[in-house]
Structure formats: C-alpha cells, structure tokens
Amino acid sequence: MQLPVYMDHAATTPCDPRVVEAMLPYFTQTFGNPGSRNHSFGWEAEAGVDAARQQVADLIGADRKEIIFTSGATESNNLAIKGAASMYAKGPAGTEKRGHIITAMHEHKAVLDPCKRLQKEGFDVTYLAPGKDGLITAKMIEEAMREDTILVTIMWANNELGTINEIPEIGKLCHDRGVVFHTDATQWVGKMPTDVTRDNVDLLSMSGHKIYGPKGVGALYVRRRKPRIRLTAIQEGGGQERGFRSGTLNVPGIVGLGKACELCAAEMDDERERLLALRKKIESAITSQLDTVQVNGHADKRLPNMTNISFGFVEGESMMMAIKEIAVSSGSACTSASLEPSYVLKALGIGDDLAHSSLRISMGRYTTEDQIDYAIEKIVAAVKKLRDLSPLYDMHNEGIDITKIEWQAH
C-alpha cells in the first residue's frame, strides 16, 4: 500500500483523470475567450462552457440558465449571502434594521464571515445552535423566523461532521414565508441526490475540488422561477454570467467542473453504498476495540463518506503524530500556535478535552477496503499507545473524575 493514505476528502479531492483529460484541450487548442463573439475560437470555448453548464445543472436538477460559475464555494457563498442581503434589504446602506438573516453557529467560515460583515452593515443575524446531534431542523428555523427575516442560509451537510440538515423542509418553510433560502452544499452535492426544485432551494453553492474536479472553480445556482431570485453583484466588470459575476470565464476549470459533475451523477448510487459500508466498518471497529470514544453527530443523518470521532484521554496533536501514515483532519484548528478546539464540535456541546482529540476521517472515490483496515489498525494502536502514556486515562480507570480536579489553566 502506498503511504501515506489519503483520508481527507472533505478537505479536497484529487482530480479524476477523466476530468483532467476533458480539460486539457481547453488550455492549448480551444483556448478562446467565450466572450469573443466574432470568431470560432470564442464560439468553441463558449460551446465547452455551455456543455459544462448543462452538466452542472443536470447534477442538481436545475436549468442551465440558473448556473453561475465562480471561483469556488467561498465565492458562491459570498455572492449568495451578500448579494441577496443587499438586494432584499429593508433599508439603504448606512442605515440600521436592514433585515434579519438566519444561519447556524457551525456553518463554514465562508458563510459565517459574510454574515458577520452584514451585521456590521446594519443587518441582524441569528446564529442558531445545532442540537447535540449536530442538526438544524425546520422547527428551529421556524422558531427563529421574524417579520423582517429576509434570508436563511443553512448548509446542506456539515464539513466537519457530515451531518445532514433538514434542507427540503427548511426550503418549504422559507417559500411559504417568502424568505430567500441559500444552502452551502459543498459537501453534499455530487455525493447525494439533489433536486433544487423538489428540495425548495433558491441559492446553492458548490465547489469543483470537493467532487474530483479542479480547484479554483465552483458554481452558484440561482433560481429563476417561483420565485425568481435576484442578487446584487459583488464583482463588477465585463458583465459575464448575466452580470452576476464579471470576469473572463475559467474555461478549462469550468469544463473540468462539468465533467466532474457528470461522473458524480453516473457513479453516485454505487459510490454511496460502497462508502457507507466503509464508514460503518471503521466506526464499528473503532467503537468496539476502544472504550471512551464517540462518533460525533447524528447516528444516521450523516454523509456516507465521513466520520468524526472523539477519543477520550488522548491529545489531538500527539494523535496526529502517531498516525502520520494516514492523512486525516484533527478536531482542533491547532495547525500550529492556536490550540483552539473546533468551533463546530463546541457548537454541539462537546467538551474542549474531547474536541481536542477528535479526528475527521473522510473517504473518497479511490479509498479501498485495505486502506480502511490499515487506518483502523493504526488508529487503535495509536490510541492505546497514547493512553498508556496518559495520566488522565489512569485517573479515569481509578475512578477519579478528572472534571473535578482543580487544574491550573496555563
């Protein structure tokens, strides 16, 4: 087996070679600017973009006119949230009480930070706390709705937990109340069946590099009928993408995104079953071979490809060191200096100690059962080794409640 083993597909995925192959001609041969109306170079590039637009639309049940190409989910979220807030604001810039927005505490930063910006610009934002299972339900949204609510933005599946929110139900509620509904579907799209019409979504963000497409390209779905959603553009210039997003199109990237969508659509059903079996295998092996571990988030309402597990009495960074042959993500954002436990796990009420020692394991198209077996073996051995070293595990086994000790925070 080639080491290290990649198990961080929620962070990014490799490009599928079929995607790369589809893109290649668009760098050197079909290199035209799709905005060039006067010659075949432009027309051919435009044909490539059109085909990709259709492939993206087909994956999510949209019309191709409803797809706006962007540089990725971060940009899509910014455009959707800031663009909708500005368009549907109840007062002009510089005033207060411009409208109410509902989101959740454990959204991606690419949603939270635009919301924080809007707060500074006169909007009110509610950050809902998820349940202990990590879910945001339609009921929670309903209770948070106000007379002046203009936008709800709730991710489809959480990027650290894989938990799946009640998107169709929330969408229905928003439609009944005439509130715009955006979902960051970066982790959901391509893995799970999506139909923006059936699922009542108005605005949907997605990204190429999470679905075996290239980095630096993504899309925003903008509903055109029932209701027609309008946005204020953020990036202005040449008026591309019907004025929603100016700038010469990233043609090879867009073609790659299209191909990636086509492949996901074709392989989704088999892939979902396969990954779910792997996820169940790793979860049941780890929870049966080790005590004091917990799988975070709802038991079933989770994506098939990822699991987030907390290990009591071991520290996250030493854990990462012990399993350096497998590339996973740790539950603390302590890439270097800041030992901040993940705000997502905190939002679920998971204590700092457990949040520090959590792993997100995310599998993908090329993950094999052998790799899963290897990961199980490494993780179990690492936890055992670190627990042999852990004074906290000793205390726990001697019946001492470590939360009752007076620790000196430093």
Binding site: S318, G351, S390, E398, Q408
Partner: protein, 140 residues
C-alpha cells in the same frame, strides 16, 4: 508541523513512562514526590514522579503525559535528567535547557515551561510530605 529528531525519538521511545503506584498510593508514599501540572482543556497535562532515597538523591523518576509530541518529549527528557540528581540539583533544571536540547520551536516553549513546573511541583510535593522547608512558592 515538523518535529525535530530528538522530539521524535522521545515520542517514539519515551523514557521512564509510568507511575510508582495508583494515585492513592503515590499520594501516601513519603518517598515519592508527585507533580501534576497543566489542564486537559489546554491540551497538556504532565504527571512527574520522583523517588527519593535517604541521602536525598532522586534515584528514580517516572512520567505520564497527555499532550503533544513536544510535551511528551519534554517530560521524558526531564525524567532522564532528574535521575541521580539531588533535590537542589533538580531545581536547577531550566526550561531553556529543555528547549535547547530538544530544539523546540517558539510555539512549543510552553511545553518546556510545563516540564520545569512539573519538576518543581514534584520536588516541592516531596519536601512538604517530609516536612522540609521549601523555597518560596514558584509562580510563572
């Protein structure tokens, strides 16, 4: 993050891991000094134990550590350095020496500070168990 060779060596082959008994036993044992420092929510807890003979020499030392690789290495190194020293000599071990020996980067200096705290706490625990006057409480 990249770790230095010495940190990796201590992490992979930690020296003197263990305890001279259960929490209850080590608390009662007059020959043993225990230093427990750090906090779980900060991501480091060190437990350092010294066994002192009648001549006042640290004849054995053991540690357990919940923490990153650098914290494990710092406490492992501390046990190596403590063995054979008198209590007063033990108190001369400085965190800067640990930093130097393990080539700890700036973000990991707190691990060496914690190890020094653990040494001081273990020695002062031994002294108080045995009615020996301790120097003024050491605070960081």
């Amino acid at each position: 993050m990249a770790y230095g060779d010495k940190v990796i060596d201590h992490y992979e082959n930690p020296r003197n891991v263990g305890s001279f008994g259960t929490q209850k036993e080590i608390k009662a044992d007059k020959n043993v000094g225990v230093g427990l420092v750090g906090a779980p929510e900060c991501g480091d807890v060190m437990q350092l134990q010294i066994k002192v003979n009648e001549q006042g020499t640290i004849e054995d030392a053991k540690f357990k550590c919940f923490g990153c690789g650098s914290a494990i290495a710092s406490s492992s190194l501390a046990t190596e350095w403590l063995k054979g020293k008198t209590l007063d000599e033990g108190l001369t071990i400085k965190n800067t020496q640990i930093v130097e020996e393990l080539s700890l980067p700036p973000v990991k200096i707190h691990c060496s500070v914690l190890a020094e705290d653990a040494i001081r706490a273990a020695i002062s625990d031994y002294k108080s168990k045995n009615g020996i006057e301790s120097e003024a409480a050491h605070a960081h």
